[in-house]
Amino acid sequence: MTSDTAMPAVVAPGLPAPRGPLSAAAFDTLRGSPGEQIDAAAVAQADPYGDDLQLALYCCYELHYRGFSGVGADLEWDPQLLGPRRHLERAFLATLRADVPGGTDVSAEIDALLVETPDASGVSHYLRRCGQLWQLREYVAHRSLYHLKEADPQAWVIPRLSGPAKTALVTVEHDEYGAGNPRRMHSRLFGDMMSELGLCPQYGAYLDAAPAATLTEVNFMSLCGLHRALRGALIGQFATVELTSSPGSDRLVRAMRRLGCGPAAIEFYAEHVEADAAHEQLVRHGVITPLLASEPELATDVVFGIQAATLLADRFSDLLLRNWTASQPTLRNPLPDAPSQVATRQKIAP
């Protein structure tokens, strides 16, 4: 065992500010003073991709990870919270299913992820070509919602797999968790990068600042991870990340070199160029092939997972590019080096 006295103390973040009636009601329950209950009718009024629903869902899920200070840990399995959560999840899931084409051809979906388009649009392409330091810092702050718990949402799927698919998935997860060395945990490398970029590496520090499009991507992982019925979709989501990460990480390494970022910042994405080239092979040949051989009926869900993850990644990318090209910040509480931050608080174009 490696001991490391420099590990930061574990502190649960505080609850963020609510963004509408659903999140306000969920937070009342979380604080132990339930009032108005979230029902299907209230959820039907909300935008399934919107701030209010996504933040409410995010905070319900967070009890399964680190929780919040001032929120009882027992609430994790309390019907008062699970009931409303189910309404939020159903609305989110139904919208995603309606917004993707679907199908059963897993190979075709994977082949599409493996084609490189050097002239494509997308956040990593933009940052590599012409991104500024404040934009790179914003990107990292957004991504911290996932990467500070990197690999955790996918760990839920382990007991839902068996045989070679389970072994291969755990091999990838083991690498994400530092392969026995806590200093090499990807979440830790991400925190080191944040510190070097002058961002706060504390878990949950940018939750209040994160717009819906950022929360939505993490919520999709938690949704698929926590439901055995969605294990095929979780594998599709996981594959999407592992298959697209290596070239995207290479572009971010080049963006950081161009911007003169330090070695700890570069290391997180440099590690992912190499690691995810191997993870790609493990996920394709080690996880998906045996999984579909033993449970061919999961093909529909794997396709759904890939398509939904791609859709949500595109929505996030569009939000960033649309605002950046107009010199607008994309965090709800802009970073101090973002342009014209006084006038733009909470005015992120949806």
């Binding site: 493996l114 084609v115 490189e116 388009t117 050097p118 002239d119 494509a120 649009s121 997308g122 392409h125 933009y126 070509r129 012409c130 091999t171 083991h174 690498d175 392969a179 290596s246 070239p247 290479d250 160029v273 190499e274 690691a275 995810d276 080239a277 191997a278 790609e280 092979q281 493990l282 040949h285 590019l321 950046w324 090209t325």
Partner: protein, 79 residues
Amino acid sequence: MPTEPTRRRITVTEDGPILVQGPVEIVLADGQEVISDRAATALCTCRRSRRYPFCDTSHRRRVRTDRIRGAEADRTCDR
């Protein structure tokens, strides 16, 4: 009683790297030694990797966006 030797699995892929199980030491043609402590290492076979001997996905097919349905070229940068 004779036991089965523990064998390492090496997976050859159709269009990409060779996947090698376990931490490895690689000796390059010029005698240089490189190590990888990963549980699985992807070794480049296409020689295009910028991190040779490790695969960095440079073996992938590259297509311009105008040849792909639905893909959008980047017009967001001034340069």
